[in-house]
């Protein structure tokens, strides 16, 4: 009680609070992943159902609820793309990846070119080249998102970048699958 916490911790609303409050981390894109990991361990050590297996049903149920909530928040904070989408959401910008597919024409053109390249790829070198391109794109997009969320906050612009990022991740996934398929034959 002597140390003032970062955010006010109110026991009755803690379960409903957002992921950053739950983990006592500042609400920003750049976070210390080691700190996140350590908080997660500390919280699970306290809340995990294994700690309550000899308790009454009420305690067991609560522990399951808490432990689930902690893991849910951890998974979201751990993954940069999901963390970015969540920050957009907290700032009132919904990603709606399924329905909102509007992208700049230049971005779509470039995507199409690379998809064509993927269809034609046959050698390990072909796949390496495509993978290198998509990895670079992801890094650039991540940096742009970090800037738009932390340094010069513009949640709408960040949201557009997050959608592009999702596109790229999906593309990266198809590259991996295609490579496994082609090169294992």
């Amino acid at each position: 009680m002597n140390t003032p916490p970062l955010f006010s911790l109110n026991s009755s609303t803690l379960l409903q609070s957002d992921d950053f409050v739950l983990f006592q981390l500042p609400r920003r894109f750049e976070i210390d992943s080691l700190e996140l990991l350590e908080r997660w361990r500390a919280l699970q050590k306290m809340a995990h159902p294994d700690r309550f297996s000899m308790q009454g049903d009420a305690a067991k149920r609560l522990s399951l609820q808490w432990s689930t909530r902690i893991n849910e928040a951890y998974q979201r904070l751990k993954d940069p793309l999901r963390r970015a989408a969540y920050l957009c959401h907290l700032n009132g910008v919904e990603i709606n990846a399924q329905t909102n597919t509007a992208m700049p024409a230049s971005f779509l053109m470039e995507q199409m070119n690379w998809r064509e390249a993927l269809d034609e790829a046959g050698s390990a070198a072909d796949f390496d080249a495509i993978e290198h391109w998509v990895e670079t794109q992801i890094t650039t997009t991540e940096q742009a998102v970090a800037k738009l969320l932390d340094l010069e906050p513009d949640p709408n612009a960040a949201g557009a970048q997050v959608r592009a990022w999702m596109f790229l991740e999906r593309f990266e996934q198809s590259v991996r699958e295609r490579r496994d398929l082609k090169l294992s034959l």
Partner: protein, 619 residues
Amino acid sequence: MALLQISEPGRAPDPHQRRIAIGIDLGTTHSLVATMMHGVAECLPDHEGRVMLPSVVQYLPKGKRAIGHNASHAASADPQNTVTSVKRLMGRTLADLPHAQRWSVALVDLPGMVGIQTLEGVKTPVEVSAELLATLRQRAEESLDDDITGAVITVPAYFDDAQRQATKDAAKLAGLEVLRLINEPTAAAIAYGLDQASEGLFAVYDLGGGTFDISILRLSQGVFEVLATGGDSALGGDDYDHGLSEWVLERVGLRLDTASDKSLMLKTSRAVKERLSVDRSARFIVQLSSGTIDLEVRREAFEAITQHLTQKTLQACERALKDAKLKSKDLNGVVMVGGSTRMPQIQKSAEAWFGQAPLNNLNPDEVVALGAAIQANQLVGNHTEGDLLLLDVTPLSLGIETMGGLVERIVPRNQTVPTAMAQDFTTYQDGQTALMLHVLQGERDLVSDCRSLARFELRGIPPMAAGAAKIRVTFTIDADGLLSVQAQELSTKVQAQIQVKPSYGLSDDQIAKMLQEGFETAEVDMKTRALKEAQVNADRILMATQNALSQDGAILSVQEKTEIERLMLDLKRASCEDSAALIEERIDLLAKGTEAFAAERMNQGILQALRGQHIESLK
């Protein structure tokens, strides 16, 4: 041990009272039970000093059965009524089994799960497994001369929801309180005491009789975190036996015509395989009804015919490492588990693939049961040196069917459990008032390539234009890895939910009925059993409440505290009488009366954990 300790309100019962917990490795070929004795985990032997119970059940006339070694001896004499490798049938339908003709027992197609035709009628794999579990429970009760508070049962990490649920049902049927299902490789990691020895990244390679698992774990600060898991729940030592058997039959030009030939052939294959782990060659001698086989088998030949199986395990290792975003050089150690890892080719292949000599210092047959016992002991609250926490993951992705027979993934594989994940869907027809949800498990995109876990319907959606309804589907996975699914239309809050009792669906009523029947044949009074269970339950809850009061009673008002103490006293009184129903009723009352207290304690604990961390990080 006294079933109930009556103590004055406000005074804790003896805190040093030990609760007995056991760990069970329910294996394809052998099963074992272990417990902690004097701070060390030990496997419990039978009357003849043998710790391994062959996972074999023979059904005999008049409701009798032989289990373990006795049944094993009968396997070739009475193969139609002797069930071996039942683990391979758990949670499986006839259509799931690619080699149904290999079985010496007759398999029948039951809704949801395969059945086994015996002279005592059709048995489910759950019932057969329950016989094995009950045998081990009895062994533990006799050797420890005490009641068992609960058990941890191990399952292959790669077991899907149906297989896990079936295992849990079998334990219930065997009268065991399941503290937790834990994954076999994780149990092995605990037994290896990796927590004390070192911190870092480890791979556990577990090749058993019928299943293969690979798990990648990170051990740090008393937390065992599973990073990724993979494997094949239908690949094990049995397959090496079959491979050898088929090769031999082809060489000598014989066929297997009778059930007893099948069983003899397999037994010989297994013996020769084991021989070849020691010697460079072995003689394959067996007398079949169609002729005699006498063939010299060299180790190199055996390794060549089974090489594709070994290769399959390494592919799974590669994928697991990739999922964990690691390279084999990042690993601090590779632990070998399961009897099948005794084969020299497995040791060699693993060493070559991982680029380091695997760890073998514990008995690969016992290590899983030992780890389960350590975890069980911890779960019942017996004090242990290490303050260990296991964080395991889902082995397979989970999703639902969408238009065009495709699977939309909701929970990707390798998520730490317990977990909950949600996704929104919509209707595709104008005025659609119901939605069929088909829950699937697996890594493939097509519904037909995944395992169907359940189907349920969300009804009562108000008529809306196509695409206007917003239906949130939430998947919740508990700490045993078992799934429940909930669907809700968000604008109207119409709800539907299902506890995914996989399609074979043994309902609680069916289990109760099977339990009753089981006890009738075993001539145990069901009522006595129920009363005893209720009393043990009451004891556990009273003790837990008492501990909670002594630790955190200060957060309660005087009235609240008096009320809880009154409820406890009521339960204690009920416990001395012989009505299970009354005890259950008072347990419920106490649970309700302590709900708010439990919630507040939980919140305080979380706050404490956060503050502790926060202060740490400010330093």
